[in-house]
Symmetry: C2
Subunit: 341 residues, 2 copies
């Protein structure tokens, strides 16, 4: 019953990381893997096609003295994969799936129930690392379930051209909101205004006074801040929130590589303006995935929602691609193609 | 139709305050007031009996460049008063009321619809500055409506012997929660444990490491933090919250007198633990007041809920009483008796 044994290139974290991660924090290893599962397995064997680079991945590179929401080692992340062999009743060879896999050519998954089967392939398969995968669900759950949007709400999105932000802005427009985004380059700002239909956008790196920038775009204040960055931007936003404003708190990428995170000094605004600031994690909302697909797929097919990807070719390019997202080098959703089929 | 003109002693703020307020920031003035309303009035004329000293009052002593939730000048605050004359159909001479009045012997109120009529006088009248007034409703709304408590929840209350905190702890115990409070003296800690029935209590001034103190009392973490103080305590609490914890954010008294508020550096905990931090103001919940009275009055009458007051005698003592709450000099709810009838 022995199957074919092949070499399996992998990306491995060499050691825990302090500060900004570097390419040299990762290294390539090659092991062997048998493409046929043993008879006592209950798992699936995957060929990885697309790997997703997501900000949250920084967290599990840090040595924690307490448990956090991500704990794994070596590098694991969301990806789109093809099932080569299955001993699990829900999957068969040839199925396409997305879920948390390894940064390697082939992965043996012992808990395949955490994977989603891909049913719709008339849209780009890579979208299942982005708008049709975890980041898409994050935007949807954060905006609708945590943000409680109403028509006419004034919405601000930071990190707005990223995997999540570009969709939040478009959902907000579909919902009849006024939307402003911030990003870190002219090219990204142009995308926000011309491709994603944000009402306004600005380059936060060119604003000496974020508070003044927000006052310019939100003279009457912000109803919903979709929080991706934390730190000084959060502080400026708090000063510009409206009464009963909501802050779905998705991430704080500006803080992940700092040894001492920045302090936020004006949290009293939360009392004065009755603000609800609520952290959320997409895991808690995956039961809504079918409902989300039903809503978003027609918009994608009809071109009413756009999605911009930044595609790195080959597993060899994965470390640089991952590191790039912490300095904003990517334009749009960063992903890595391991293989196109 | 001219009525009796009498002298009216008042407490006035001399100028905006920076840093900790001092007695010398206030002064006494005496004016004249006619105890009979003019015929074209739609207001009520009050004799003030009890005045309430509340932390939020610090805010309107500061000169703001933007509107905040409290704006008035000279000193105004919650109080219990007797109607001496009324030109408003809802009130008549002899009624007892509570609401926002002036720090003076007699007040002319032009918008009396904001006052609550006192119907139950078998309990101490001064309670309407505390457990039966704004602080009581604050505890009730914050704990039940914002905190979403469940039986068995682990609850932490800061400023726990104060006007709001002492009641939050008792409501939490009635609700089957485990409750720990912090306060600033041994006397207060004893009250929390022996009078209010908290499971545990500690003196935050004697804890060098607040994080370690909280870990000691909450080895499995905190479900609900009723936030009254902000700053370093909030930072320590965030590190000790449990998944899906809630932080009803009532006030941040530790920050009110700082020229530069402290920074909170670990807001990422809000994401990692899916915490909901929500500011609230009692105004938004006054429609629940009848329901609250119906619940709390029997508990008070049966002695199942206690309430400790710190009573200053005479309007002359009001400035010192107000200033004392910012250094924690009061033990229990601070109020001032202007007149007992």
């Amino acid at each position: 019953m022995a199957g074919q044994e092949v070499s399996n290139k992998q990306v491995v974290l060499k050691d825990y990381v302090v500060g900004f991660p570097k390419e040299s924090d990762m290294e390539f290893k090659t092991s062997k893997i048998n493409l046929k599962l043993s008879e006592d397995s209950n798992g699936i064997l995957l060929k990885n096609l697309y790997l997703s680079c997501d900000p949250y991945m920084r967290s599990r590179m840090t040595k924690h003295d307490r448990p956090t929401y991500v704990e794994s080692f070596p590098i694991m992340g969301y990806g789109v994969s093809k099932v080569l062999d299955s001993r699990h009743p829900d999957y068969k060879a040839g199925d396409l799936v997305w879920g948390i896999t390894g940064w390697e050519e082939y992965s043996l998954i012992s808990s395949p129930q955490l994977f989603f089967k891909i049913e719709h392939t008339d849209v780009p398969l890579s979208y299942y690392t982005g708008i049709l995968g975890m980041p898409g669900m994050t935007a949807y759950a954060g905006f609708y379930e945590v943000g409680s949007p109403k028509k006419g709400d004034r919405v601000f999105v930071s990190s707005a051209s990223g995997a999540v932000g570009q969709l939040v802005g478009q959902l907000a427009k579909l919902n009849g909101c006024y939307v402003v985004g911030s990003a870190g380059s002219k090219e990204k700002v142009d995308l926000l205004k011309n491709k994603f239909g944000f009402d306004e956008a600005f380059n936060y790196k060119e604003e000496k006074d974020l508070d003044a920038a927000l006052r310019r775009y939100f003279p009457e204040g912000i109803d919903i801040y979709f929080e991706n960055v934390g730190g000084k931007m959060l502080e400026a936003v708090l000063s510009n929130m409206r009464l009963h404003g909501r802050i779905p708190t998705c991430g704080m990428i500006s803080q992940y590589n700092l040894e001492q995170p920045e302090g936020v000094h004006n949290l009293f605004e939360i009392v004065a303006k009755r603000i609800r600031m609520e952290g959320f994690i997409v895991f808690d909302y995956y039961h809504l995935y079918p409902k989300y697909l039903e809503m978003i797929l027609p918009h994608i097919r009809e071109g009413k929602v756009s999605y911009v990807e930044d595609v790195a070719e080959g597993l060899e390019s994965a470390p640089a691609a991952l590191i790039g997202i912490y300095s904003g080098r990517n334009v749009g959703k960063q992903l890595v193609v391991v293989s196109r089929d």
